[in-house]
């Protein structure tokens, strides 16, 4: 699809719409069978990295931008800010696609970390120059490959691990990711002692670790 001739030149709105339709069809075509959706989304990022493939980018945008916006709204961002950050997150996907390694992270994992880091940066932006989205992280050390533990990146397996959490643990995990609340506030909201919230988070962490790495430490 990268030979479709759409990769260069400026796009008028109707071109963009056409592109969107083509890309949507391409996504539907590649997303079949449904079990491989995650792998196909990863492949789209690789196509962006290797070919500056605008169709692949369009498909990624259509899939992820509305979910990133949903995530930011859930965290309490005003709609305009959520819209703008979703834009920036996908723009960052385009720019940083060459650093994406499909063996290390599912597409959804990678884009989540981009959106999360942009949100953290937002608070700081008023008084300071913008950081790059990964400015608060340290990249993987390429010199220590043997030390890294393989974390399963199959989204179906991850979703299954989350589904298997006991309800009370799943609840605190989701609040931790979506409510933008300190543990003490989660405890207040649930009417639970802080220690209970912490122990549920730790139990959930243990189960998720075992499910995704096979390690029972």
């Amino acid at each position: 699809m990268s030979e479709s001739g759409l990769a260069t030149g400026s796009e008028s709105r109707s071109d963009a719409r056409r592109l969107r339709n083509v890309a949507a069809r391409a996504l539907i075509a590649t997303a079949n069978p449904p079990r491989s959706t995650g792998a196909d989304l990863s492949a789209l990022i690789v196509r962006v990295a290797e070919n500056h493939d605008r169709l692949a980018f369009t498909a990624l945008f259509e899939h992820f931008a509305p979910r990133v916006k949903s995530y930011l709204l859930r965290l309490g961002a005003p709609p305009e800010a959520a819209e703008e950050l979703a834009q920036e997150a996908l723009l960052t996907v385009w720019r940083r696609a060459p650093s994406y390694d499909p063996n290390k992270a599912a597409a959804s994992t990678w884009i989540f970390t981009i959106a999360r880091n942009l949100r953290i940066d937002l608070a700081r932006r008023e008084s300071r120059p913008a950081l790059t989205p990964d400015a608060t992280e340290v990249a993987d050390a390429p010199e220590q490959p043997d030390q890294s533990v393989c974390v399963a990146q199959d989204e179906i397996l991850i979703a299954e691990a989350i589904r298997r959490l006991p309800a009370d643990q799943a609840q605190v995990v989701k609040l931790a990711f979506f409510a933008d609340k300190a543990h003490s506030e989660i405890a207040d909201e649930l009417g639970l002692p802080l220690g209970t919230v912490k122990s549920r988070l730790r139990l959930a962490m243990g189960r998720l670790r075992t499910a995704l790495t096979g390690i029972t430490a």
Partner: protein, 212 residues
């Protein structure tokens, strides 16, 4: 060598969800960058976050969102600032920490330097602290909670040796007198929940000790 002292799991969870403030986040990032165990847990949590977000009901964007994005990717990228090279004997740290070390390093007392990293001017919330070999930090406690990650050298605190990558959490329940051990200076990245003027604070801390 892998670090021996790790942040508690709920701090790693706050790191992965983004609930940790920027200041504390930099300190945890220093540890996670060199600790395979905590890196693994953060990878697990990032995968969980990604999947939870992927399962959210999509919210429609503005009609012109995609054309705007397609126009924006055509624009030339802003020039990337040259990456700062970390000092060869430090563990790897996030970029803002290196920038602070280059630009804002000041002596607070003989043998002791500080460099504010984040926070408003004069009110750092995270800072670098370098202390010469063999020095002892005067006995003190903490207001609020402080996170520490050793970037270089080592100190001994309550019989525990803290070497590069090691993480510590100190609060008002801790009264201690860390001692720099080994023959190099010890550099730590520190964040605090209360607003600090680290140079004054560190200077005052060392004042009776060095007689300034």
């Amino acid at each position: 060598m892998s670090p021996k002292h790790h942040p508690p799991e709920e701090i790693l969870i706050d790191y992965a969800t983004g609930a940790l403030d920027l200041h504390a986040r930099l300190v945890v990032a220093g540890h996670v960058g060199v600790c395979p165990l905590c890196r693994r847990d953060v990878d697990v949590l990032n995968a969980v976050g990604g999947t939870l977000v992927a399962e959210l009901p999509p919210v429609a964007l503005a009609d012109d969102a995609l054309p705007r994005a397609l126009a924006r990717i055509e624009r030339p990228q802003p020039a990337q600032a040259a990456r700062l090279k970390p000092p060869g004997d430090w563990i790897r740290v996030p970029e803002p920490v290196l920038a602070a070390a280059e630009r804002h390093r000041r002596w607070a007392a003989p043998g002791v330097w500080v460099a504010p990293v984040t926070g408003r001017p004069g009110r750092a919330r995270s800072y670098l602290l370098g202390i010469a070999a063999g020095m002892k930090v005067p006995r003190h406690t903490h207001r609020g909670t402080e996170f520490v990650c050793v970037l270089k050298g080592a100190y001994v605190d309550q019989d525990q040796r803290h070497a590069p990558g090691d993480f510590a959490l100190n609060d008002d329940s801790v009264v201690h007198q860390p001692t720099i051990t080994g023959d190099s200076e010890c550099v730590c990245l520190i964040s605090a929940t209360n607003r600090l003027v680290p140079r004054d604070w560190v200077g005052a801390l060392f004042q009776p000790f060095v007689g300034i």
